[in-house]
């Protein structure tokens, strides 16, 4: 690999913990620690896991026209989003394909915080920044910002032990400005695991301090990209580059209702999505459960009888379900109800699978009520 890989402020911490580092989206990131992906996965489902997500990007957009601008640029409405809330959103190209999926935080009536994926980050900054009104300020704060994800049923208790009042922690998909050990933190109740969890944004210079502080809690263990992937797969959450890319529309990925295409709002890509011919979904995302722990991975052809009807976009063993699962795209015109039989070709053998409802894992604590609220 000739390309110089970026490292997060925590790279030395990961190495000291015995992490195996791999290239990911232009970054050198830990994929697993010594205990292994399965142990990290289960620790997150049962206690609390800490993820270094410093590679992701953060933008600040501010101005009287900021809400109207983002309403024009992003696929889900922004103008009606309440201050203090987070909203999952998409940046589309003119053909309606997904340039990136992101979360929009409304900091104030005229100020937004956008959290984007690492790979598309530089392109997002140019695209979104380039489509704003001249009076709207845009700042790419990615390099100066650390992001840690604390995820698991004990996550709120961990924050409580660090001095935060658990009864006043943010509600699901909401955020607040707070401080941990004197470090100002934007704290949102969001995540990518299906468990009760929080995402912490703060100055990169404090990354090592808060990482060590959170890991000092006996309930918390570090977890990495490997476990992050099995946790999100069990929830059926899309991963950019797998379930979504520039050739996939949010409608095909299952998010059509969120776009409120019946409303008159125009946004980049909306003309194609509303076009009865060009916008007609060609394929749709489904979940599939396999017979045992043998997995069909990204790229595996999906067969219905002798005919290939689609391709796996993500697949692995689901550690909390004791079997392999997969997500994949199939032709939109096929009736494939939950329970329908399919075959997945893993390159060696065709594995039997059935169409399964998403999420695969339904027992997550993400929306649990916090005591004292």
């Amino acid at each position: 690999m000739d390309e110089k890989l970026l490292e997060t402020p925590l790279a030395a911490e990961h190495r000291a913990l015995g992490a195996r580092m791999v290239p990911f989206a232009g970054w050198l990131m830990p994929v697993q620690y010594a205990e292994g992906i399965l142990a990290e996965h289960h620790h997150c489902r049962q206690h609390a896991a800490l993820f270094d997500i410093c590679h992701m990007g953060e933008f600040r957009v501010k101005g009287a026209l900021a809400a109207a601008d983002l309403d024009r640029i992003l696929a889900r409405p922004v103008a009606d989003q309440p201050v203090g809330s987070c909203r999952y959103n998409f940046s589309l190209n003119e053909q309606g394909g997904v340039r990136d999926d992101l979360i929009v935080y409304r900091l104030a009536a005229d100020e937004f915080y956008l959290v984007v994926n690492a790979g598309p980050c530089a392109g997002d900054a140019a695209w979104i920044g380039g489509h704003l009104s001249t009076t709207t300020a845009f700042a790419d704060e990615s390099a100066a910002t650390a992001k840690l994800d604390l995820q698991g049923p004990e996550a709120a208790a961990v924050l409580g032990r660090l001095g935060l009042a658990t009864a006043s922690l943010p509600r699901y998909y909401h955020f607040q400005q707070t401080a941990i050990a004197g470090v100002p933190v934007l704290l949102s109740r969001t995540g990518y695991t299906g468990e009760l969890g929080f995402e912490l944004y703060f100055a990169a210079a404090a990354a090592v301090k808060l990482w060590r502080l959170l890991l000092a809690d006996p309930a918390v263990k570090p977890a990495d990209l490997g476990a992050r992937d099995t946790l999100r797969l069990e929830m059926g959450y899309p991963l950019y580059g797998h379930e979504m890319d520039e050739t996939t529309t949010p409608v095909e990925a299952g998010f059509g209702a969120m776009l409120k295409l019946g409303q008159p709002r125009e946004f980049i890509g909306s003309a194609v999505l509303r076009d009865p011919v060009a916008g007609k979904p060609r394929r749709r995302l489904i979940g599939m459960a396999l017979e045992n722990k043998r997995a069909a991975r990204a790229g595996a052809p999906i067969y219905c009888g002798a005919e290939q009807v689609g391709t796996v976009s993500s697949g692995a063993v689901a550690p909390s379900l004791d079997r392999a699962v997969a997500m994949g795209y199939v032709r939109a015109d096929l009736e494939l109800p939950v329970g329908a039989a399919l075959e997945l070709d893993n390159g060696r053998v065709r594995l039997a699978g059935t169409v399964a409802a998403l999420p695969f894992y339904g027992a997550g604590s993400a929306r649990m009520e916090l005591a004292g609220r």
Binding site: L38, A39, R297, A316
Partner: protein, 121 residues
């Protein structure tokens, strides 16, 4: 005496019966193993043929027969609990046994010392 293949299998022949598996190094590289596809008992394999597959959370890898032979036994305990491959890859995590082995093919393999050198590179 244990021999190793460059493809990271180990094999040891005692009284004409070979026991084989994957090396400690390979098991560590693969990470948590979640599925092992065993060969059928009675099936004959030539040296270098795909005899089975191991799958970890992240990937699947073929297992190759280090020397020719006929499968006489597979490790049922491993099929039931693939984590044995992480716990004791060169012990209780053996994969299968071969009879009618071509013992002269052992000299095409690496000794433990030679194998350690190749993985250190």
């Amino acid at each position: 005496m244990k021999y190793y293949a460059e493809t990271h299998e180990w094999i040891e022949v005692v009284d004409g019966i070979a026991t084989m598996g994957i090396s400690t190094f390979a098991a560590e590289e693969l990470g948590d193993l979640t599925y092992v596809e065993m060969p059928a008992v009675g099936k004959a394999f030539a040296a270098g043929a795909v005899i089975g597959t191991v799958e970890s959370v992240k990937a699947a890898s073929d297992i190759f027969a280090p020397i020719g032979g006929t499968v006489s036994e597979v490790n049922d305990a491993l099929a039931a609990d693939p984590a044995l491959l992480n716990q004791a890859p060169e012990g209780d995590g053996w994969i299968c046994r071969l009879k009618d082995v071509k013992e002269d093919e052992l000299k095409t393999l690496l000794t433990a010392e030679q194998y350690q050198k190749t993985i250190a590179e």
